[in-house]
Every structure is written in structure tokens, then in C-alpha cells.
Symmetry: C2
Subunit: 805 residues, 2 copies
Amino acid sequence: MINSILYLVPLLGVVGLIVMAFKSAWVSKQDAGDKNMQELAGYIADGAMAFLKAEWRVLSIFVVFAAALLAYSGTIHEVNGKELHGSWIIAISFIIGAIFSATAGYIGMKVATKANVRTTQAAKTSLKQALKVSFTGGTVMGLGVAGLAVFGLGGLFIIFLKIFNVVEVDSNEMKTAIEVLTGFSLGAESIALFARVGGGIYTKAADVGADLVGKVEAGIPEDDVRNPATIADNVGDNVGDVAGMGADLFGSYVATILATMVLGQEIKVIDAFNGFSPILLPMVICGLGILFSIIGTWFVRIKDDKSNVQNALNLGNWASMAITVVASYFIVMYMLPDGIISLRGVEFTKMGVFGAILVGTVVGAIMSIVTEYYTAMGKPPVNSIIQQSSTGHATNIIGGLAVGMKSTVVPILTLAAGIMGSYYCAGLYGVAIAAAGMMATTAMQLAIDAFGPIADNAGGIAEMSMLPPEVRERTDNLDAVGNTTAATGKGFAIASAALTSLALFAAFVGIAGIDAIDIYKAPVLAGLFIGGMIPFIFSALCIQAVGKAAMDMVQEVRRQFREIPGIMEYKAKPEYDKCVAISTKASLREMMMPGAIALITPLIVGFTFGPEVLGGMLAGVTVSGVLMGIFQSNAGGAWDNAKKSFEKGVMINGEMFYKKSEPHKASVTGDTVGDPFKDTSGPSMNILIKLMSIVSLVIAPFIAGKTFGERPNHGQGAAYVEMHNHCEKEMMGKCDMSKCATMTKEQCAAMCDSMGCNPTEKAACMGMYDADGKFIGKGEKACCKDKEKAKAPEKKACCKDNPKM
Amino acid sequence: MINSILYLVPLLGVVGLIVMAFKSAWVSKQDAGDKNMQELAGYIADGAMAFLKAEWRVLSIFVVFAAALLAYSGTIHEVNGKELHGSWIIAISFIIGAIFSATAGYIGMKVATKANVRTTQAAKTSLKQALKVSFTGGTVMGLGVAGLAVFGLGGLFIIFLKIFNVVEVDSNEMKTAIEVLTGFSLGAESIALFARVGGGIYTKAADVGADLVGKVEAGIPEDDVRNPATIADNVGDNVGDVAGMGADLFGSYVATILATMVLGQEIKVIDAFNGFSPILLPMVICGLGILFSIIGTWFVRIKDDKSNVQNALNLGNWASMAITVVASYFIVMYMLPDGIISLRGVEFTKMGVFGAILVGTVVGAIMSIVTEYYTAMGKPPVNSIIQQSSTGHATNIIGGLAVGMKSTVVPILTLAAGIMGSYYCAGLYGVAIAAAGMMATTAMQLAIDAFGPIADNAGGIAEMSMLPPEVRERTDNLDAVGNTTAATGKGFAIASAALTSLALFAAFVGIAGIDAIDIYKAPVLAGLFIGGMIPFIFSALCIQAVGKAAMDMVQEVRRQFREIPGIMEYKAKPEYDKCVAISTKASLREMMMPGAIALITPLIVGFTFGPEVLGGMLAGVTVSGVLMGIFQSNAGGAWDNAKKSFEKGVMINGEMFYKKSEPHKASVTGDTVGDPFKDTSGPSMNILIKLMSIVSLVIAPFIAGKTFGERPNHGQGAAYVEMHNHCEKEMMGKCDMSKCATMTKEQCAAMCDSMGCNPTEKAACMGMYDADGKFIGKGEKACCKDKEKAKAPEKKACCKDNPKM
């Protein structure tokens, strides 16, 4: 039984990959248009490939270095007398995770650079056909990511079970297997961070640079073939919004499943799967989610040019979610045993586990709906920004910032309710499985997400090839929907990251051997502050990197306009490759610092201040990161669509405004500010959160038991303080030394024994009795026992006379 | 002894108020310039007064309503069987706090509207004289605020000691006195919130509105007499930056002292003050701080027009801080007893208390220096914004946002170190007294702070009266320094708010009767998320309010330009009063919602979810509020000075740019976005943080013991879960039921007794033994005790055979 389920998981991954191959072949077979279009598409594909190769070169150094460190850590078998269960194989696991993550990005990019020009060609015929091509491209990406993740995790899990001879769930061998599997997630998430940040910087540097000189200075339209940065801009859509996002969601998907597995491993049940059902459950649900996503894609179809594309995508999304929920019920009922399941003192039933999955799906759905509301054209938030564009650049910016900040309210309340709800249903396992349920339809989510940049590219190629306006109109229609789906995808990703982080958090607490993360303790609160600050500096570095790289791009474009005569008259070709090279170089340079912060901070804080302060920091990063992620993604999305609204014309105070009007110029400013927000820093937040949690999880065994900032003591009270610290921790106040005041020395000694106090502590306790076995307490406290009645001078005299008491 | 010190405190307040009266008289005696200047100044003074009166009318309704609620709460003497120590007198205390806070704002505004025109007149002579008048105006405000606070707190404390017949520190009477005194702080902070938010909306609506139509559309300079909104703009400086800030710092000052007193009350010492020294200490230090601030003002003087004004102000600031630190040493040594002082299990000495004060002062100093670095002209951050203005509005905005986000790093690290350091020195009392030490020189801080808007106004009057350019140059010099001091003042305020909040937090934990705020618990983490979100929605509402009100203003100014012929030719006077009325109405309307959020959220969360979740929420608000406060204040300050830099001309890529150049226009956009950031939402953050903490503190006794989201249980395991929950809390795992597995039934019973378990819990414990007294554990756990060795089928059989185990 266990074996059939065990092998089912990677098999489902393979099924996803096979369907992907068919879809990919279908895309390749479509008409790629005329020679000019193909040439332009070729530039884009080459530029994207060049970037990926350059990025991989840099990252491979990092991967080798990190793998060596991990291999070394796996050879440590004892820290502070505590046995560790690591293995050097974690390094292999890490490398495989990194390679799979890079491959996920590669698959997406490869198909996207094929689908873009084919979408343009299809748009010559109809919107229906254009949607079909672009969405199939997106589907390839979605299935590739989900398929690789499920295949990788499932396959490695089988291999590790064999390598480490795991027989039972509750065994050291199993602990090793799970710990080694964590390496896979760490590898995936590390690459995701760099891919997202690097790709994000690339795409926005090119975009902002192209816009600033092209649209604003030279007055030529977006994606004009005369703009030297336009190819770089289109390459950016592929490396940032496709490859970056693919790696990102691959990482999220893996981390979510893994976090559930780690917690599941702590659960002891008697089931038909040798006790493995809580571990297998998230893999099975996510594996089957691939099939349900494929079913969902069937619903994405429109009738004609007048059909609503957004509705078609939504229908597919809801369909795959609904099927997942229904199927989850049967999977949970089949796999988990009847009766009480318990994790860390919380008891629940399998019905509770299903409840948690339901909660997770509902949270995901609400996040999507809310994000759509805040970023879609025609809705009040975007309209408010349009209205505020009439009074200039500044009010447009103020409007967008306000929309972004306000858009945090409902998602956060939803998330808070989701945390409480899923925890209520099935404890921490519930929180983790809720995230897994939410992520089960990642393939579908990603298909919807990736279709956006393909459509965006298709529009670019249409513009550059100077195709008739109705073609551009059709691709613009798709592109506008793509902006909203990009935003909803980000909302979804951030929600799942928050839930996953909490699950990773819980796993971290367990492995680090702490009972609580008490923010009432000063050092933990300090950790919370530092954690909260990290998303701010991370965001600042990201958007600043975009600013810097965009400036380089602006200088280069200006130079080409100046030095290459005839560009504006279509007589000379701009040097596209120089702009591509600038973006590539700048993004690789600028992604280092933010990446380093995410990776190194947990190490410093963990090894210096111990697990509880690190826990406080993780909480700070999570809360602040979720907020900054939602704020930035939604503000950016809203600005973008406010600008896009001008293309069809908008009504402000009874007057119609179109492109090139003053309000439109203001809206372009907002869009430019929003670009790094929504495509660089905003979507990096969820990786930041998860990566820091995973790093903490990996180092948890090494920092277990470390403390910092324990109560200071000064001289005479030392022993008492030590005792007090220990016993307060043990007994939380109620059973403290005041108890001994009413006990005989023997009774107190017995209590010490039953508490498991060590000899020093017991001695300190015994020191509170005088030679006759009478309780005297310690210091002035003992001295002034009757302080309620005593007068001040008497108290003082008493203390003076008994200096040693 | 105690009496002389007790009476010293309000006396020091009176001294401050007397010096203030002399300085105020000196300002009044200065030449107020020609008739035209006086007329313009009259408009400003009248507008400011009209706003204050309208605001007070609205707030008086709130105060009466809140006071009635408080009076009622004071009559409740028991909640859930727990005795409460409130009194209806808290309502009186609250009303006095509100009145004092309003008075503090009034004093500042009164002197500022006198000092402004007199500074203009003095600027005709020299920069030295202009600085003297404007800084003396600021000093009046500083002394007024500090004097009122110390007088009010000290005076009320004496009165309450008498009313409640307090004899001992450790008595219920004392608890009542302190609780009633909390009302004073609540009153002050509530008014502060509305004054800051209302005033902030007013000033920025007028400023942004005036700029958008005047500077951008009509092309007339700032503060031009032809601009209908120019008087409203200048009124705004007074109601927002002076009255609002006065109420704000009054609230901060009171809250900080009070938080230290609340914690001090828990300390039991034998001293020369009948045990009152830890309570009196913060009042004495802050009282004497008034004298040291007066000394500090003597250092603020310059030689001639070429002297550096910033340095003069810094010298005064450092001087008063240094004197305070040195004096604190002697005060602490004199007042506190030798030997160990202990608070909640942390032991420290009086040397530690002094150490904490030192830490607090250093934190305050670093915060000021860092803020100055990020917002001052000529420093790299402001220069980077200037450079980025060359590529347009969008890059200017991106640059400013990045500077603001980056500027959180050092302050947060400083704050985190400060929290750890002061806690290490003297536990939670150390954290509180560190804040008090930092706030001791509030009078000086505020003098420096309030001088800015006075200089700003002086410049406005100079422009409107069309005085010679050298006059405007002198006031501009002062104004630029004022921008930086405003930012540093905000940095200082936010740091003190963070430390104060932690102290209030600690006081809250004590009164609410919880042992920890454990973010590892799902509901507490949910609270943390919700708390983190509040500063975002609060900020959004504030900046949106500014946007809305500014739009109203823009419409009105456009209408006047259109409908009143001859304005532009100086032939007709604009209707200044209409613009004043618009700002007044809009700000009062828009301040309601953010104020309500701050006041009501703690009530909802506290009464629904209990104190631990509320604690989590407070932590979230504090961390996120501090970050958003620093981010917004510094971004705004940097944008403002980037714009100001163009007045003297800036070098970008080897070319000089001045006012009206394209980069300058971009910098105006940044400044306009920054206006609500730095003067409305940013500085409101620290009040938000403290107000929510104080509200929580006030309701703490009523929600004590309430819990939410405790471990759910399902049927058969109920008793066990209950026992487990209880005992886990008591014994934190080590002594849990697994201990009983190795004990006889009798031993287990004895352990239960020694733990203080109640009968139900003990029964649950005893239920884990069978009839023969053999330990069987519970459910499947007992069934599968030998699981390490057992095979799966055997386990299942075992469970089947023993369904009830």
C-alpha cells in the first residue's frame, strides 16, 4: 500500500511533464509569422538565453560553495552533547534542488520565447486563437514547474528512504531523510531568490530605461523598433516574469510540501501506510493537483473577440480549485486513519485536516479576488488613481501609494483568520496542509500567470513589426488581463508564503528545541524589530538597483540616438545587443547584495543570539515581508492599469482624456515607479520570507540550546537568580521559591528532585534554609519578610544586621 | 524627604512655565514690522485660532463621551472574580490630560503666530537676530510643553496620593492612584493623535493645494500673496507643525514618564523615600531636564550671516543632553538605594539604572545623527535623489522611496541594541528609564523642532510682503535647517515611542496577568499580522485624506483665479478665508477614521481574543509603526531638501540646474509626495503606537484571564488535552505526563499536588492508571508504548483490542 502511493507521487509528476511535452510541441507547430517577426523573436530568444547562461555561471559558483558548506555540516554528528542526524547527502539534495529550479525557469522561458511570436501571428486571426496560443504557452510552464517539483520531491523521497534504510516514521533514519530533503528545498529557494531578484532587476531596468528615453524623451510609442532598449525590454519579460517567476513558484511549491512533511513526520498514527500518511498526504494532494489543473485548463476558452478573457481564466481557476477541494476530501478520508490524531499536544481528526485544506483554498481564493479588485481596470481603486492623475504626477503617486497600503487590510485579515481557522481545524499540521491545499493548483495558477508576459511580448512584436492596429488591440486586451492575473498570482504566492512560513516556523521551533518565542523578552523583541526591517532594506536595494541599471540603460539609449544617425528614420538599426548586455551585467551585479542579506542574516542572528531571538526575527520578517509584498505588488499593479486605462480614454471631471494628455503623463510616472515595486521588490518578498525560514530550519540543529540575554545578575544574588531563571522556566512562576517558604527543607528538596533540577540548582535552593532547616529566603527579601507591618527604619536595621541573608 | 522631592517635581514644572512666560513676553516686545506684514500675520493668526477652536469643539464631544465610559469602568470592582482597583476619578484625570494637551498646543501656536512676523522683521537686520527671535519662539513652546507635563503629572500624583490615602508603594491604594494617573496620559495621547492627524492633514492639504495650482499651474512662486491658498498654507504650518507637534510631544513625554512609574511601582526597595524612589526617579529626571534644556538654549547663538545655524542648534542639543546624563548619575546615586533592586525576577543595581539612562541618551543621539544624515542637504542620500531627478519624476520618486526604506536600517539596529542594552542594565525598568532619559531634554528638542515652522512662516510673510531678496535668503537659510531639525525631531520621537511602548507593553503584561506573548501560538501570530497591518491602513487613510483635501483646495483656488478678475495683477485680493475654511473642514472630517482605528482596534481585539493576542497585536503595531514612521518621515525630509537644493543650484552630470529646470520640476513632485509622508502619516506613527498601548493598558484589568484559540480537543481526549494544556503551561514540557509513566500512581498524585493542579486536572492525571494502579497512558499512545520495536500490524491489532485505551 505504502509503496503504490509512494510511487504514485513521482508518477503524477511524470504525467504532468508528458502533457507538458505535448502542449509544448503544439505551440512549436503554430505559425511563427513572417521573416521580420521571426527575426525580432529571435533577438528576444537569444537575449533571454544569454541572460540565463550568464546567471547560471554566477549561481553555479554559489551552489558549489554552499553545497560544500552543507556537506561539511552533514558530517557534524554532535553539538553541545546533542546528537545530530544530518548527512553529507544534503549537499547532493541541495544541488538537485538548484538544478531543478533552474530547469523550471528554463522550460518556461523556452516556451515563452516561442509562444510570444506565435501569439502575435494568431492575433492576426482572432482573439480566441491568440488566447489559445498564449495560454497554452503558460500551461507548459505551469505543468513544467509542478511536474518537476512533484517528480523531484517524490523521487528523492523514495531514494532517501532507501539510502537511509527508513523503516519507521518515528526513527532517527527518518529524521535524516527529511533533513536531507530540506536541502532540495533550500537549493530550489536559493536559486529562486536570485532568479526572481536578478530577473526582476533585468526586466525593470530595461522597461524603465526604454520608457524614459523612448516614450518620454523621443516621443515614440512603447515597443517601437527604433528604440535600442526595446529588445532588452522584451527579453526582460521573459527572464523576469517567466523564468524568475517559474523558479519562484517552484520554490514555493516545494517549500510548502516540505514544511507539511516535516510536521507530518512528528505525527504518530496507525494507518494503512505504515504511519506515513501525514507525510505522504501533501505530496499526493499536490500531485493530483496537477491533473486537476489540466482539467481546469479545458475551461479556459472564449467564443469571439468580444468575450471576456478574465472571466475565462477565472473559470479555469475556480474549476481546478473546486475539483481539488472535492478530491481532497476523498484523499484525506482514504489516507488518514480514523480517530484522534495529535501533534504537539493539539488533537484533531481527519475531518479537521480536510477542514484546513478547505480553509487554505478559501484564503487563496479571497486573496485572488481582493488583489483583482485592487488592481483591475474599471474598479474603484484604479479609478481613484486615474482621477488623481488629473492634478499631476505627485497626486498620482500619492493615490497609488494609498491604494497599495489600503490593499493590505482584507488580505491580512483573511490571512489572520486563515491561520486561526486552519490551526483550529488541525493544529500546526492544519496550517501547513492549508498552504499545501492552496498550492495544489500551482500548475493552473502559473499557467494564468505566465500567459501575461507572453501576451505582453506578443504585443511588443506586433508593435515592432508594425502590424495592423487590430492585432495590437487584441494583444493589448490580453496584456491588460495579464497585468491583473500577474497581481492576483502575487497575492496568491504571498498568502501561501505566509502560511508556509508559519509551518516552517513551527518545524524550526521543534528542531531548535525551544518551547516558545516570547516577544515579551527584550532580546526577542529586538529580533522582531530587526526582522521587520529586513524587507525594507531588501526592497530598497531592489528598487535602487532598478534605478541604477535603468540610468545605465538611459545613457546607452541616448548615446545610440546621438551617435547612430538614421535610427529615427528607420534607416539604421539600433544596437539591441548592447542594451541587452547592460541589463544582464547590471542585474547580475545588483542581485548579490539582497541575496546575501537573505542568506546570511539568519546565520548571524542564529549563531550569535540563539534560536529564540532568531524565531523573533523570522516572525518580524514574515509579517513585514507579507505587508510590503502586498503593498508593493498591488500599488504597482494598480498604477500599471491606471496608465493602461488611458489607452481607451478615461473620463475625469466630465472630460475625456487619452494617451499623451497631461493626466496620462502623470499616469506614466506612476507606472514607472510601480514597475520595480510590482516586478522586482514586491514579488521577491515571499521568497525572502521562505528562504530565511528554510535557512533557519537547516541551521536549527546547530544552534539548539543557545540562549542570549538571559537575566543578568549582580553578585550576591547569583545563585538565586540562576535557580530562579531555571525554575521559572520550568514552572512559570506558580511553583517558584515562594512555595519553599511554606515547605520544610526536605519537602523543598523533594520538589527540586521532581522538577529535575540539577545539583547546582538544588544547592541554591537548599541555601535558602539556615543550619536548623528553617526557611530564611535570600538577601533582603528574607530579611524583610514582615515588611507589610514593619516600619522603614526597622527594615533598614534588619538588613544591616543580616548582611549575608 | 519624600515630601520635599514630591513637591519639587511640580515646582520644576512651574519654573519652566515662568521662564516660558518671560521668553514669551520678550518675543511679543519685538518689532512686528509694517502694517502690511502685520495684516498678513493677522490673517495667519486668525486662521490658526479658528482651526483650533473648531477642532476643540469636535474633540470636546469625544472627550465627554470617553470620560463617561472611563468613569463607568471605574465603578466596576470585580471581573471574573478578580478584584479591580479602578476609580471613577480616572475620568477627571483623563479630562485634565486632554485639556493640558490642548493647552500645550495652544501656547505653541500663540507664540508661533507672534514670532513668525517678528522673525521676518528681524531678518531685515541679520541672520543672527532672526535666529534669536525664531528660536526663542520655539523655546517658549518647548518650555510650555515640558512645564505643563511635569507640573500636571507631578501635581496630580500628589493629589491622588492624598485622595486615595496612599501610605505604602505595595498597596492597593497605590495601584488605584497609578491607574487613575494613566487616565491623564490617555487623555493627553488621544488629543495628541487627533491634533497631529488633523493638523497634519490641514497643513499638507493647504501646502499641496497651494503648490499644485500656484507653483505648477499659475507659475507663481511659493507663498505668493496672489495665491488664495497661501494663507491657509501658512496657517497649516502653525496648526500642524506647531500645535500638532506640541500635543504630540506632550503626549510622548507624559506616556514615557508614566510607563516608568507603572513599572517602578512594582519594585520593592528600602530607600529614603518610603520606597517611592523608583516611581519618583523619572519625574525628577524629566523635571530637572527642563532646567538643563534652559541651559542648553544658551548655546544656540551664531556670530553673523555666515555662521552655520545647524551647528549652533546641535551644540545646544548636545549640551543639554550631556548635562542631563551627568546630572542623572548624581540623581540616581542619591535617590536609589544601594544593593540589589529586583523587578520581575531581574536583578540590577542603581549603577545599572544609570547605565540604562546612558543607553537611552546614546540611542536618542544616534537616531538624531542618522536622521540628519539621511535628510540633510549636501549629504549623499539627498544628493542621490537630486541626481535621479535628472531622468524625471518617476526616478525622483523611486530614489526618495529607496532612501526612506534604507534609512530604517541603522535606527532599527540602534533601537534593537538599545532595547537589549537597557534591558541588560536594569531589566524592564531599564528600558523604561532609558526612554525617560532620552525624553528628559524634550523642552530643548521641541525648541529646535518648533523653530522650523516659525522660520518657514517668516519666509512666507517675507515673500507675501515682497521684501528684499536678502530677507528671504535669511529666512530660507533658517527654513532649510528647520527641515532637517524637523526630521531629526521625528527620529527622536519615534525612538522614544518604541522604548516607551515596550515599557507600556511590560506594564500591560503585568496588569493583564499573562506570563508570555508567544508568537509561536497561531492566534498570537495572527494578532501580530493584524497589528503590523494597522500602520499601513492608518498611513493610507492619512495620505489619502491629504490628497482629497488638496483636491478640494485645488478646485477652490482654480475657481478664485477664474471668477475673481485681477488677482494675478495684484488688483484684487483673493478670498483667503474660503481656503482656510476648506482646510479646516476637510481635516476635521478626515481625522475621524484613523483616530477611530487607533482607539477601537485594541478594544475589539482585547475583548474578543484576550490579552495575549492583544499583546501580539501591540508588538505588530510597534514594529511596523516604527518602520513606517522612520521610512515616511525620512523619505519626506529627503525629498523636501532635494527640492530645496535647487534653489542654490545643483550639479548633475557636470551641468548646473536651478529652479524651474526640468529636474527641479521632478524634485517638486517628490516634495509634494513627501509632504503627507513627513508631516501627516509619518509623525502620527509614534502616537498611534503609544495610544494603542495605553488603551490596552487601561483595559488590561478587564480582559485579564481571557483566552482564545486554546488547543481544540475532540471528544475522548478532552480531559487529557485540558490536563496537558494546563500542565504544559505549568511545567513547560519537562515534567509532563511522560514523567508519570515512570511513577507510581501515588507519586504522580503527589506531583500533581505540588504543581497546584486543580481537582479536574488531577482526576485526568489519575485516569491514566488502570484499576491496578498501573500506568496505561491514554489512547493509542498507551496502546503502542513499545512502538520502537513493534511491527505495524501488531500495533493495529493492539489498538483494535483496546478501543478505549
